[in-house]
């Protein structure tokens, strides 16, 4: 198994775990983590896709860094919202899914 393939499979696995978490979790923080997992998986996959023909492609690296910055700010806002929502409603889950949280 070549390096890029390994990376690609890892990325796919991360996406899979993230999707599972997104579907199964009610707790909003868990969902935020799941989003981050999916995002990271996609970035790993993108890095692997860049290694075409053996030589490293610098472009995906730049994209991944940009993507990480975007994901970070999204996560920050999301966590802030989760905290504010939990304080206001007393629950860390959305109202319509409350019973299991």
């Amino acid at each position: 198994m070549t390096g890029p393939t390994l990376y690609a499979l890892t990325g796919a696995a991360l996406v899979g775990i993230g999707v599972f978490g997104l579907i199964s979790a009610r707790h909003l923080l868990r969902r935020v983590v799941a989003f981050n997992l999916i995002g990271s998986g996609l970035f790993v996959f993108l890095g692997a896709a860049g290694a075409r023909g053996g030589a490293a492609d610098p472009l995906p690296q730049a994209l991944i860094i940009t993507g990480i910055v975007v994901a970070l700010s999204a996560s920050a806002l999301a966590v802030g919202l989760v905290v504010a929502h939990a304080r206001a409603s007393g629950r860390p889950a959305l109202p319509e899914e409350d019973e299991e949280a």
């Binding site: 989003f35 996609l42 806002l77 919202l81 929502h85 409603s89």
Partner: protein, 489 residues
């Protein structure tokens, strides 16, 4: 050319300035940034109309390494519409979100978020790079979510949270598609991808991107986040969210299906998109019929109107792209997006002023408001005319073009969706119009000045004027349009 840079940089600079400067100075900075960006948007449109499509390769790097931005007619039209709505929302927000009226936090947060939203919208409209578009819509969603949550009430926070989940899921789906495209072609520039050799994964990539963008556009069945989010935000924020934000992801969809990968458009996929649009028209219309709060009626109407936009895909995409009727559908959809934006913003701003005067937006609260505030009531009525698609209005021109195109294509079912949706819109807008124009004992309450009341009327007037003086916007749209929008019937 410098106008193209200005529409991207000015709102961003304004957003930074409003964060850095203290209270009063921040509001002055915001007003300056709004006025300057509006001027830049108009200058850009004039440039495009006179000289064609300006293109900028950032930092002098050509794709695939660099990022290109281009303002074609579609982008220029959207940018002007955005600037109009933003300026109107800004004018209304000076009072509705003054520190005394909305609390210090909302008063501080509104201006940077609004300007950030604006910068993101303009970036999405002109960007030619799929990854850059991802960054743009992510920034757009984050600013929009912030605006929904700005007042910090429990219901608004829940709405923002729900919006966040849909928006992030949508972003990730879109990103997954982008990754697949890069893996297959090693390029993300729209121009380069148009001339690519199709790969096996292209269909999947397009599907992922499309579903992600549908979630962000709030197309049925991904619409559930929209009504509480748009109904719960402060009125100027609702105006921007409903009028502009869904249009950004819709424009990306147009670019993907008509510019980047027209070869991947299978008949079934195109019909499925329009079928979802049909479901949105019906569901949004029926839901709007039973709401008791006016803001929710207006928000569900957005769900329905978004549905119309997706009728363009089978009529102008795939095998239809080379047919004479494609142009009508494409232009009609863009016209609908423009006039809906203006009309919907007018509605939300009018409702916002009524809420300030009456303390609520339940239909019963608003009985007879037309007597006290005739100009805003007239604005609401004019906007309703556009949304229903009655002549003369931008909404009618769009409806006529799309329906003609549907009959010419032999796909008359979509024309009936347009026609039936118009009736449904008439039904759900009749209730609020009848209530606000009803005769009632009007309680005395302080009214906004005439200068502020006229703002929604100007927007609504612009939506109607789109239908009367549509020649100029049409010429603008024809600049740099895709093949599907070429010479038509």
């Amino acid at each position: 050319m410098s106008a193209l840079v200005a529409v991207l940089v000015l709102p961003l600079a304004g957003a930074l300035a409003t964060v850095a400067l203290p209270g009063r100075a921040a509001r002055i900075a915001a007003s300056t940034a709004i006025a300057a960006t509006l001027a830049a948007a108009l200058a850009l449109a004039a440039w495009v109309a006179a000289r064609g499509v300006p293109r900028l390769e950032i930092g002098g790097w050509a794709p695939p390494v660099g990022i290109a931005v281009e303002a074609d007619g579609l982008a220029a039209a959207m940018i002007v519409m955005t600037a109009t709505v933003m300026a109107a929302a800004g004018l209304s927000a000076r009072h509705m979100l003054a520190p005394g009226a909305a609390g210090a936090r909302a008063a501080f947060g509104f201006w940077p978020l609004m300007l950030l939203l604006w910068a993101a919208l303009n970036a999405v409209f002109v960007s030619r790079d799929l990854f850059n578009l991802y960054v743009g819509i992510e920034l757009l969603s984050l600013a929009a979510i912030g605006l929904v949550a700005i007042e910090g009430k429990a219901a608004a926070l829940a709405a923002a949270m729900r919006y966040m989940i849909f928006a992030l899921a949508g972003s990730l789906l879109y990103l997954a598609g982008v990754v697949l495209v890069y893996a297959a072609h090693g390029a993300l520039d729209a121009g380069l991808l148009t001339d690519r050799t199709p790969a096996r994964t292209d269909g999947l990539a397009l599907a992922l991107m499309t579903v992600g963008l549908m979630a962000k556009t709030a197309l049925f069945p991904f619409h559930v986040w929209l009504p509480p989010a748009h109904g719960g935000a402060p009125a100027p924020a609702s105006a921007m969210l409903s009028a502009l934000v869904p249009k950004a992801s819709f424009v990306i969809l147009l670019r993907l299906w008509f510019d980047v990968m027209p070869d991947q458009a299978t008949e079934g996929a195109l019909a499925l998109m329009a079928a979802l649009g049909t479901a949105a028209v019906i569901w949004g219309g029926l839901a709007a019929l039973v709401q008791e709060r006016l803001k929710l009626i207006v928000a569900y109407s957005t769900v329905a109107q978004i549905g119309y936009l997706f009728l363009v895909f089978p009529l102008a995409g795939g095998a239809s792209a080379e047919m004479p009727w494609a142009a009508g559908a494409w232009n009609g959809a863009v016209f609908l997006a423009l006039s809906h934006g203006l009309a919907k913003a007018a509605m939300f701003l009018a409702v916002g002023q009524w809420m300030a005067a009456r303390g609520g937006d339940r239909l019963e609260d608003l009985r007879g408001i037309a007597t006290a505030m005739p100009m805003t009531a007239f604005a609401f009525a004019l906007s309703s005319i556009t949304l229903v698609g009655l002549p003369p209005s931008g909404g009618f021109t769009a409806k006529y073009l799309i329906m003609t195109s549907a009959f010419a294509a032999g796909q008359w079912g979509w024309a009936l969706v347009m026609a039936g949706g118009g009736l449904l819109a008439a039904a759900y807008l009749y209730r609020p119009v009848a209530v606000i124009f009803a005769r009632a004992e009007v309680p005395d309450s302080p009214l906004p000045s005439r200068g502020r009341q006229v703002v929604p009327l100007i927007l609504a007037g612009a939506a109607v004027a789109l239908g009367i003086a549509s020649a100029a916007p049409f010429d603008l749209l024809s600049t740099g349009r895709p093949q599907a929008a070429g010479e038509g019937l």
